[in-house]
Symmetry: D2
Subunit: 296 residues, 4 copies
């Protein structure tokens, strides 16, 4: 398929390589051109502007936040103005439910398709084609994009025909991850102050009731106290929890645990950990229990 891809951060770059490997013709655009050029060797064509990335049947966006996506989509010479009728915009970023609804409306108004398809997985998973994709949008457009999603990873959930449904699922998922982080952080602080070996505790839990990838990955980071190697920064985590609370507020759903996670991430940033992985919640819980960071 002829595909455009806008946004070459670590996730976008990983997805680009996966699509190229799967045999698609890919035109990539990024604000700072060198990231686009880095993909030329793998077979990508470099676009000079947003419009040039919108000439195929599908244009994928993977951008940092709502404002970045709005700028690229609605701006003068943005996606809505550039895409031909019948072509599809696939938004893979974690964005707010309200923006997803607006995107669906505006693209529909312009005779274009819009599919929300946020993903679960870190950059390595993007590059390895091991993402979990949640897609939603009008059936014909989701069907058209299915080969792309299947290239990206083995797990696909189609959440419905209303695009924003996929974003609600993604936000619910990120909320659950944030809850795991904070609850592990508290449990480990309790364990350490009680004299329990934190690593042994984690090994036991993750081989019994909590035998899930998320507990292993984040539990390991919290036990080691190493949050410098960043998969997902605290401010990005906070951005997502805010989108969760915004979506929940719009539907009148109280979420006390989301509020706790939000408060703790704000604290982490205020205390100077804005450049660390969001697993730094482990350090906040440790410090608040009078412990210093890390293992013992």
């Amino acid at each position: 398929m002829d595909i455009g891809l806008i946004g070459l951060g670590r996730m976008g770059t990983g997805i680009a390589r996966t699509l190229l490997r799967a045999g698609h013709r890919l035109t990539v655009y990024n604000r700072s051109r060198e990231k686009a050029e880095a993909l030329q060797g793998a077979g990508a064509t470099v676009a000079g502007n947003v419009g040039e990335a919108c000439r195929g049947e599908v244009v994928v966006t993977m951008l940092a936040d709502d404002p970045a996506l709005e700028a690229v989509t609605f701006g003068r010479a943005g996606i809505v103005s550039s895409l031909s009728k019948g072509s599809v915009h696939v938004s893979m970023s974690t964005i707010g439910v309200a923006l997803a609804e607006r995107l669906a409306d505006e693209h529909a108004g312009a005779g274009q398709g819009f599919v929300s398809a946020p993903v679960f997985g870190r950059p390595q998973a993007a590059e390895a084609g091991k993402l979990a994709v949640v897609a939603a949008g009008p059936e014909e457009f989701v069907r058209k994009c299915k080969p792309l999603f299947e290239a990206m990873g083995p797990k696909l959930m189609v959440a419905g025909t209303h695009a924003a449904l996929a974003n609600a699922v993604k936000l619910a998922g990120n909320f659950l991850i944030g809850s795991v982080l904070e609850s592990l952080a508290e449990a480990m602080a309790l364990a350490r102050k009680s004299g329990v070996d934190a690593q042994a505790l984690l090994d036991f839990f993750t081989s019994t009731l909590f035998d899930a990838p998320i507990y292993k990955t984040y539990g390991g980071l919290i036990v080691s106290g190493e949050h410098e190697q960043v998969g997902f920064t605290a401010p990005l985590g906070l951005k997502d929890v805010r989108l969760v609370l915004e979506a929940a507020g719009a539907k009148s759903v109280p979420m006390p645990i989301a509020s706790v996670v939000r408060d703790r991430l704000v604290t982490a940033i205020a205390r100077g950990h804005g450049d660390k992985d969001w697993s730094v919640l482990g350090r906040i819980a440790a410090e608040d229990a009078g412990l210093t960071a890390g293992k013992k």
Copy 2:
């Protein structure tokens, strides 16, 4: 081995059957005698009082809460008075850290052994020998009891030589389970009010990031809205969260998520769900979001 077992609730009965199956000689005691007699067919001897259950090398207790265990242990003609020197009391209930410390002291003072060995798993797992056991206590006594623990399930964590360590691990684990319950409850309320199919969401999450037994079991109960079939009641859950907060308070560990779970369980009980499974937190979150219970 010659073993006594005191407390034949659903967990205790399951453990009794497992120990008998493993070939141990078992003397059982329960306040209401019929539960003890029900095990005679399987080979158990019925004790008429606590003392008669304390004649072997090991006496196991599996009782409802701290006061029940205190009554049986310290009471006139209780375990401390009855057990011979060198024999071991193995406490498998979820009890407070402070009580565990007192038990260790008093048994040591009487020349007896004390091992804390709380378990993870529901009654079916107890009966099937599929529990996860966390044991702690003086090395020689833990070693002596190892065959018992191995009969009870494939997973054993030895948390240290200080008995209360096992209880800290158990409380940390139950806290994590309670956090999963409440966070799933909130996530499902958000999903339902956003129009997402809750069952499909659960299937997706539990086949990707949250592929762990605890998410499957409790997620299913929350999605179905069926909390009448009780594995573990809301008041028992609340009792455990209180023990968590008590242990955390004693060590000066703030646990905001534990506080949220506590508040929600209190709410569930105040609103009349004291006889339901503690997964009823799903109903509380649904009602607070203006939803009626259950699937749709």
Copy 3:
């Protein structure tokens, strides 16, 4: 002084009457004209559009929320386009800190003055000239408006030369009021379930440590359980708590109590109390304690 006033809700109408009584020449504008005409008898001139209300030295706005104020200010033929150089826009609504900053910038860019002057007090206080006013903005403009503020009430705090400071003070104040509501709600639920006479308790507290207007007013509403006569609706309260959390988030200030108040207001609205006074938090706390609403 020649003054325009835009926004004739209950607060705006009260302020209009007060300004007329103080001898100012007032031109009033409201989207639904009848509210403007109702003030003609008191001496006000009715404006047919925003521009006509901007012909004096000062234009005061008192609107429902950020979007309403943005529409009137930045819209085509809005205040920025209409006001003459050197004239002042005084915004008295409770708005977000970010919007206040934008207003200050845009008016300054247009050679106009901007003063933020939110108020504390209910509609009766507005009409009686008994509001407490918090003003901030460039010194010369605040000085110019001082006679207006003095007409509105006996208490004036000048928070600084940066307009948004006044909004930060207003939000901090509304947060404290919301905290009083929720904490009184919880205290009264505890008192009632403990068998204490709630009215006697309130009388005692408000004649000793909590001898402040806010405890008397809201305590009375919570004890009586009457939230139908609305001074300030639950959704307006929620709007303000959101602005608090937004301002706090922008400055990285964790506010766990603000989060609790937010969750409870969301709950109140989800449970169908969106048309009630925000003191309905008293009913939520009562219901969550298994009590029915009201006195006993």
Copy 4:
């Protein structure tokens, strides 16, 4: 009246002086005798043990916590064994509801009277006879003690004939004070990071909506950041919030704000402020917002 007084901390000593000034014959007992002897000059008789302080019509206790009161009351040669029939034990400490109920039962069983009469006010108020007293117990005994209460301060609330009611009122009051502390702490952190002058803000609020002693006293401590001069330590505050949550739990009343205050006090102690006034919550909120303590 012939009165005994047990417990001569700062509150007890203040009350002793007030009772002596009012012309009562007072026998005082304290574990460390020198505090008792310090009152001889003012006319008090020093008791050598608890029994000697129980020879009058009334014995007042003012002790640190539940265990201290239990030791003095139920111990061998304690108050229950020493007091003559018809005499009254007046407990003025802040104790748990459950202990108050037990005291009422045991004294009644011994033919003695029991009145709970906790007080609001700092040591200076105790000495100056300016406490607010909440009394509850059988009518005849409360009536008998009325002259004492009236000597102690101008405000008396009789909460009912069931002694524990007074303790419920006291706990509700201390909860409200704790809520004021934490909400002021959060509001001041927001104000300071927004560039608002915290002292000016406090002056404005305490001369308008929050014109109550509690806001002035604690607001001043939080703004100045001086928590070294201790009126009431953080651990004592935590003890009281725990009693609140315990009483609330026993009646199934969820109190999310009490949980927040509890978590923050635990944090304060874990971070090394266990020797400071409980207004140190202001410092915790400031630090969590990335501010250093104190004014600017």
